[in-house]
Each structure stands twice: as structure tokens, then as C-alpha cells.
Symmetry: C2
Subunit: 347 residues, 2 copies
């Protein structure tokens, strides 16, 4: 049998792997299926354990991704997974595979970005592996972190009537990538005519979008805010694949439905401007764009007043019974079904 992976997709492949897994250790609290694995290590703490893979040509294009930003982002996306469990990241391992085109100076740049992220978030780089590669660069980062047992937050514990919240704003990273791709195409045209030295990329007015794409920040400030204000999210996930896909994860795993309000989705002004240039609705970018690395979480009514006036948190809807499905209510009052359109890597 020769069944292509594309026939089941990335989520299908993960599901297939997860189904075959046996667990032997009684301290394994959570295996495959959340932002991190959860392991019982002491009376009051859980260990969180996660990993992410970034591959040149699939996840990043070095023509428009500065290596320093890439290093920073590679760390940030892992820390974001730890944040999504309501935890604090502490240590990372960094493995890199490099083709011969990479010089020591380029590697220094990459590690400069890794180091800046570690410094900003008090995370220790404690090891890794290095190898040559046949083509391009590959970065694999693993992270561990810790969380108080009574603070751990899973994806599968949203309850009917909980309020749905997102941090920051959505869709900006998507348009950041669109701009980078557009300028790259222009650059290639200049290159064809041997005029690449004359080429000047034009991102004026869209610096925020670029920053969101190239240098995302894990929302560990929000985790601190939860701790300081005694807020316990009832479920949480980080938004790596777009709001719609993440809502599907929370709802499917929690056995619930949801209703969100289009006009409550937080969208930056630059996204509205970009949406006109590219003729893509801002909500489409927010729902399906991905890579914003904001947090999507639910809270019970008792905590609602604690987040309602936060400048960093938007209440966008509510959890409803499974039978009601997943919907977005438009400003006109129409009900649109939310589809799970995350990034599909295996095409």
C-alpha cells in the first residue's frame, strides 16, 4: 500500500500516531493532544515538555527572514506552548542542521536571536545537537517549563457558558507574511533584470505587521497577569494556526460548541489597511491566518470582571452546547459556521 500523507493531513497523521501510543509511566498526566506534555514531578508542580520544528522552505524563507529574528521566533513559539498550559518556561535545547552555505557568521546571528529571546524570558539554553544537512536549515527546539498543579490549564476543559477570550490582536502576522512574499516576488523581477541593487522593499506603514510575523512574542505577560489577579482559565491554547482552527481544538476536545462575535475579534488598524491592499477580509486573516501566537482561553463567569477591562484581552464570545456547533455571528446578525482551516503542511 502506498497511501500519501496528504490523504490524511497533519492532524490525521498526529491522530494516527497518538492512537498507537502506550503509556508506561504513572507520572504521565498528559501525552499527545495538548500544547505540551504534562508530567507529575513533585507534590505541587507539573513539568511541561514540548517541541517545535522549523524548516527552511516550509516554515521560513531566508531571503526575507533575518536569522536573528528566526532564532528569536524559534524560541518564542516553544515558549508560547508552555504559556498555553498556564506555565513558566525555564529551559530549552536547540538542534540545528545546516547545509554548507551557512557560515559561522550566519550561525552567530541565529544564536544571537536565540540568546535575546532567552534573556528576555529568563530561559536557559542548556544543550542541543548540531549536524550538517543536504539542503537548507532546520531548527528543532525543545522546551520544558513548570506549572503549579492547581494552575495547569488544558484544551479539553472548556465548559458551557464559559466566556471566550483572546489576547492582543489577530491577523497581523498573516499580512506581515503577505507583504514579505509580495516584496520577494518584486525582488525576483529586479533580479531577473540584474537590477537587484536598485531594489528597495517598501513596508512603510506596515512595520507592525512585519514585526508580528518576524518577531512574535509568547504571551507570558498574560500568564503573569493571571497569577497576579488570581484568574484561572478553564481552557487555553496558543493561536499558531488561526483562531478558527484553535477554537475547533478547544471545542472538539472539550465536547462543546461556541459562538463568537465578528466585531469583537481584536484586529489592528494596520490589518484593515493591509486587507484593502490584498483584498482579503481582516476576519479571514484573524480566523485562518495563524502565527499570531496570542492566547485563546476561556474563563468562568466568576473571573469575567477581572479581564473585562484589560487592554490586552478581548472577550469575543461564549461556549455553548456541542449540539449548537461552532459559529461566528456577523455584525449583521448572520450566523456563519467556523471551519477548521489551520495550516496544512502536507499537500
Amino acid at each position: 500500500m502506498k497511501t500519501p500523507i496528504s490523504s490524511i493531513g497533519e492532524f490525521g497523521l498526529i491522530k494516527r500516531i497518538a492512537e498507537k501510543v502506550n503509556l508506561y509511566n504513572k507520572n504521565t498526566i498528559k501525552g499527545i493532544g495538548d500544547d505540551t506534555a504534562v508530567i507529575d514531578i513533585s507534590d505541587n508542580k507539573y513539568l511541561l515538555f514540548t517541541t517545535d520544528l522549523l524548516i527552511e522552505g516550509i516554515h521560513f524563507n531566508l531571503v526575507y527572514t533575518p536569522l536573528k529574528h528566526l532564532g528569536y521566533k524559534a524560541v518564542a513559539v516553544n515558549l508560547s506552548d508552555i504559556a498555553a498550559m498556564n506555565g513558566q518556561p525555564t529551559h530549552i535545547l536547540v538542534s540545528i542542521a545546516l547545509s554548507s552555505k551557512f557560515t559561522i557568521e550566519l550561525i552567530d546571528e541565529l544564536y544571537e536571536g536565540i540568546k535575546i529571546a532567552c534573556n528576555k524570558y529568563n530561559v536557559d539554553l542548556v544543550g542541543g545537537d548540531t549536524s550538517s544537512s543536504i539542503t537548507g536549515m532546520m531548527i528543532s527546539i525543545s522546551a520544558i517549563g513548570f506549572v503549579d498543579k492547581n494552575k495547569i490549564t488544558y484544551r479539553n476543559t472548556a465548559k458551557v457558558n464559559d466566556f471566550i477570550c483572546v489576547t492582543g490582536d489577530l491577523g497581523a502576522a498573516f499580512f506581515g507574511l503577505k507583504f514579505l512574499e509580495r516584496e520577494y516576488i518584486l525582488y525576483e523581477e529586479f533580479l531577473k533584470e540584474n537590477k537587484e541593487k536598485e531594489f528597495q522593499p517598501d513596508f512603510k506603514g506596515y512595520e507592525y505587521l512585519l514585526k508580528r510575523q518576524l518577531k512574535p512574542e509568547p504571551r507570558l505577560d498574560i500568564i503573569r497577569f493571571f497569577y497576579d489577579n488570581d484568574i484561572q482559565p478553564t481552557s487555553m491554547i496558543d493561536i499558531s494556526d488561526g483562531l478558527s482552527s484553535e477554537l475547533h481544538h478547544i471545542c472538539f476536545q472539550s465536547g462543546v460548541g461556541c459562538r463568537i462575535y465578528q466585531h469583537k475579534i481584536p484586529i489592528a488598524e494596520e490589518v484593515y489597511k493591509a486587507s484593502e491592499e490584498f483584498n482579503i477580509a481582516p476576519e479571514t486573516a484573524a480566523l485562518n491566518g495563524g502565527e499570531d501566537y496570542e492566547l485563546l482561553f476561556t474563563i468562568s463567569e466568576k473571573d469575567l470582571h477581572k479581564v473585562l477591562y484589560s487592554k490586552d484581552i478581548s472577550v469575543i464570545g461564549q461556549i455553548c452546547p456541542n449540539t449548537e456547533g461552532l459559529h461566528m455571528i456577523t455584525q449583521q446578525g448572520n450566523k456563519i459556521e467556523l471551519l477548521a482551516q489551520g495550516w496544512i503542511h502536507f499537500k
Copy 2:
């Protein structure tokens, strides 16, 4: 500046990365520089944290590496790193990148091997990442494990007069690879003449060598033996790059020298036979071959009698002052300097 990585090599690159690292967490006991990172997590336990990268075309050739074995080996090499700290592995994350040539059936085979290794060593697969790749397969595995604080064993704590021991036998994995490469070249000749269906690889009498190359075992049985017999190694490392290279790590980091005896190096009968076919001395394979994943450790005199009669452990020499350097004494009584010739990936 455009300095090729090959000018400093893999160890040079790791050293360069390690020098720039700051540590922010007071529970970081050991960062870069040993088989695993060591993190303080409770009154009596340390957490061990490690990762390894396997890349098609660099670390393995799928023409002669069955995917089931590859999955098994990818897990085994990580568990071996945990064993080298005198620890017990418990959890792994597996990330894979795959080009479109890989079907679901092939991935199932790979995970079958991963699962068999997990089952054998009571390790839980608790997550990972999946991605497509531009070319070939890449496997990145991270592992954690635990060790009692009073049992932790580092590379840099060998003392003058300690006895040097190795487990199992050395050089077999090297010749296993030689056979696979030889048959592969023959296969390609059959292929050129469109006679590949007539090709029958001939490994008769060398099955042990193949097994050592394709399906190495982490020596967790030895860690158990240490526990059961109250043996505390004074230093330890796993032999992934060859005995000579690992002795250099232990001696350099411990600030000592060593003297080993050629005729005490454990070498399997099949290695002697293979060494004639390939005209490579068995000691060369043992010293520089690598991939045996045996343990190299030192013990103090008080523990010597506990290992002296073990069928799985050979005492091969003794630690001496730094000033005496690293040497092998031949059967004729000659003194040969040991060179650190590990695998150099960056050429």
C-alpha cells in the same frame, strides 16, 4: 566575513555556542557540555534533558536502513544519553520532517520501531511535531529522565588512579556500516545493468555487526547493575563517536590523562573477521568507529571488585595525571598517543 563551519568543526561550533550562553535559572545544575542537561526539580531528584538529530543522507541511508530499525535507533541513542548520566529515561518527544516520497505505511513502520523501543525501556512517547520537508527525512527526538541526586554521574569528575571501564564490545557498529555500504555499492552496480532483482546482499556470518549498527541498545541494564550493586561511577559518557573521542571528553573535562591497554579493549569475534576483509585493524574500529552506544565510565578502587568479574564490563586502563597525556599501551608494550577522531559532520 564568511567563515565556513568546517574550519572549526562540530565541537568548535558547540564550544562557540556554549561560550555565549547565559544561565538565568538557579535550578540549572548543568547546561551544555555533558550527555544531558541537569535540572534540579526536587529534594532528591534531578531532571535530565537531552536531544538528538538524525538526518537522511547524513546519519542514515534509507536504501539499507529499515525504517523500523531507524525508529528504534533514534529512540535508543537518546536513552543512551540519559543512561550516561546514570539516569532512567521516562519520556520522549518525536519530531519528524518528511518529503512527499514517504507514505503513511512507511511512517507506520518508523513509529512501529519507536514504539518497540518505548515498550522495551518503559518510555512514554508524549508528543512531538510533524512537518513536510523539501528533501528526505529528518528525525529529532528529545528525551527526559530522572536520577537520584547522589547517583548523578558527569563527564568531568574522573580522578587520577580511577579505573577505566567499558561495557559490551566495541567496533562492531562500525563494521556493520562498512558491510552495508559495501553491499550498497554492489547493489548500485546491479542497478546500472538493470539486474537489481538478481541482487542478494551477503551478510552471512556478520549478522551481529549489522544488528549493532542498525539496532543499538542503550545500556540501561548496566545502570540497573550499578544501582543493585551500589556502584557509583566517578565519571561516565556513552560511546557514540568512538572510544578515543569519548576518552578525550572525559580526560579534557576532568583535567586528567589516561592509559588504556590495547589487549583489554573488548572486541567481538566478528569484528576480527571483518577487520581482515576490510583490512582495517579491529582497534581502529573500536577507537574511532563510533555508534556502539556502550558506556565508558571510571570507578574508584573501592568499587573495582564489584565490576571485575562482570561479563558485560571490561576494565581497560587507568586515569593518570594530566601531564602524562592520553595513551594506549600495545601488546608489545609500545605507547601510542590517542587522538580525538570522532565523527566530523561538517566537512
